[in-house]
Symmetry: C2
Subunit: 323 residues, 2 copies
């Protein structure tokens, strides 16, 4: 028996880009009301008579976002916290609570779930963020996924992607390229060559604390680096209507960290386009002294897009339905 | 190559009950802080210096929570809104925003996703709840799931499950047994016999508005009926340390609605134990006049558990890993 919705002709998700799909979905969904910022930034801000709250959600799917050979269940739990809390931090906020959904094949070992919960709990406890609730569901054979919603507070207005101005300094808090370098080592079966890099891939610990610090210091725009430096810098450039001009000279320490593990081209690729680092990129007015924990990697100029050493550069891409 | 986490010996999720699993997970997760109510009620309340927010999350998985033969994509979208918003209502709150996660096999037709978004958007727009954000991820072949987080406001303290007192009136807002009756018709390939009942199964429209109404009227305890009248009444009884005494005489109209479609035993089963209705059950002090939209179905007495016409009754059960 055919089903008009599942068996009909017409394009499949694999046939359209994520951006094309979202462009068709967004007009179908109600907007506005108490939702002050959304979608299109890292995190929504919902402001009502009873207060304001930041809210963001992110999902990890086995086989897409992690491989069991490389990540322990505790790693998956820790990384799921990191991804979501970094999105709160990138608005200048602090996470206040997490909701955790686990959808699992009934054949999943109980030990997997308990190690996952221990890793998630430890990552949340370290930053004093309680688990407020969640959901547990069964899934078809082989499927295992984790979806987290993080809630947070921001002291006043959040820092958006759209506030960068010509003359601002572009700065980063946290590492660059290490998660991607760890991923390369895992792919090449060379995990023993640099266990620290592998750890930064399977269990990142982003500099969440620097989000509110940057906000207090006067950051004009901020984003967390989930899809790579150049791609995420391009998002700030597009939202702000400016050009972000990066300099490899200012990335020297990041590149040097990967020397001896990867060749120079691969190291540059990891630093410029490696994803899942979850460090923070922000723009600061030129008169602001960068807070401790932040380092300059470029400047904001007129124009659009991202340049590296004066040449336009695009960040490559990641699309969930065309990996 | 075997993997210690996925291939090791030891119990699987199918070998333990959901309650046993949660009892092992909860101690691993940090609690407290700004989370005032959680877990163990329908919805968490997170209260900080910046305000307070209700937050709840619920997931629907194809093959578990819906079948493509019975539910259109728009039905799935509408029901996912209903489930979550009913949880906010059951605290006496109003939903303020939704976050929507869709995890889909890349072979999913684009038309499925757009019809889903239209149904979700229409259900949210009808109650003026904007979509604040979400996430889109790819899934293994055949997997399709939707996870929603609902945020909400409550005017003062929320209504918990734990406040019922001896002498209170037990009352319901909304229908009883119709979703389950519709499910029976679908299973028996008799959907044409009563399309309204089928619609109440695939696309419920719970009486959300009655949550704040009950709170204002002085409800002492409230829950949304997601797992059946007796089972959910039992949760209020357990949380409050009382007995909920139900009367089939007071359920006469609900039973009569199913006459001619189901035999008397099946009708009684649907009304007492049918799930996914998402009507609201609340307890009110005896001196309170029940608000419009609420009707008495029993009373609160001393003891524990639930009685129907004076006899103890358990609600059956639903466990995600042992359906």
């Amino acid at each position: 028996m055919t089903n008009r919705w599942t068996d009909g002709p017409g394009p499949r998700l694999r046939d359209v880009s994520e951006d094309e799909l979202l462009a068709q979905i967004f007009p179908l969904l109600p907007r506005g009301g108490p939702v002050v910022v959304a979608p299109g930034d890292d995190t929504a801000l919902v402001r009502t008579a009873y207060g304001s709250v930041l809210a963001t959600t992110d999902t990890m799917v086995r086989g897409r976002d992690w491989l069991d050979e490389w990540s322990s269940p505790a790693d998956v739990g820790g990384k799921s916290v990191a991804q979501n809390v970094a999105d709160i931090a990138s608005m200048g906020g602090r996470a206040t609570a997490l909701l955790v959904t686990l959808v699992a094949d009934p054949e999943t070992p109980v030990a997997w779930v308990l190690d996952f919960a221990a890793g998630l709990g430890a990552a949340a406890a370290e930053i004093e963020v309680p688990i407020a609730g969640g959901d547990l569901s069964s899934a078809p054979a082989g499927t295992l996924m984790v979806s987290i919603t993080a809630l947070g507070d921001v002291d006043g207005d959040p820092v958006l992607r759209s506030g960068a101005r010509g003359g601002d300094v572009v700065a980063v808090a946290g590492t660059l390229g290490r998660s991607a370098a760890g991923f390369v080592l895992l792919q090449q079966d060379r995990a023993d060559d640099d266990e620290d890099l592998v750890r930064e891939h399977v269990r990142p610990r982003p500099p969440y604390e620097q989000g509110p610090v940057a906000r207090s210091a006067g950051a004009t725009a901020m984003i967390d680096l989930s899809d790579g430096l150049v791609r995420d810098a391009g998002r700030v450039a597009a939202a702000s209507g400016v050009r972000l001009e990066l300099s490899t000279e200012l990335l020297r320490a990041d590149l040097d960290r990967l020397t001896g593990v990867l060749d120079d081209d691969a190291a540059l690729g990891c630093v410029l386009t490696g994803g899942e680092e979850h460090s923070l990129l922000a723009c600061f007015p030129p008169e602001v002294a960068l807070p401790d924990g932040w380092r300059r990697i470029g400047q904001v100029g007129a124009g659009e897009g991202v340049t590296v050493d004066g040449r336009p550069r695009s960040g490559g891409g990641w699309d969930h339905f065309h990996p």
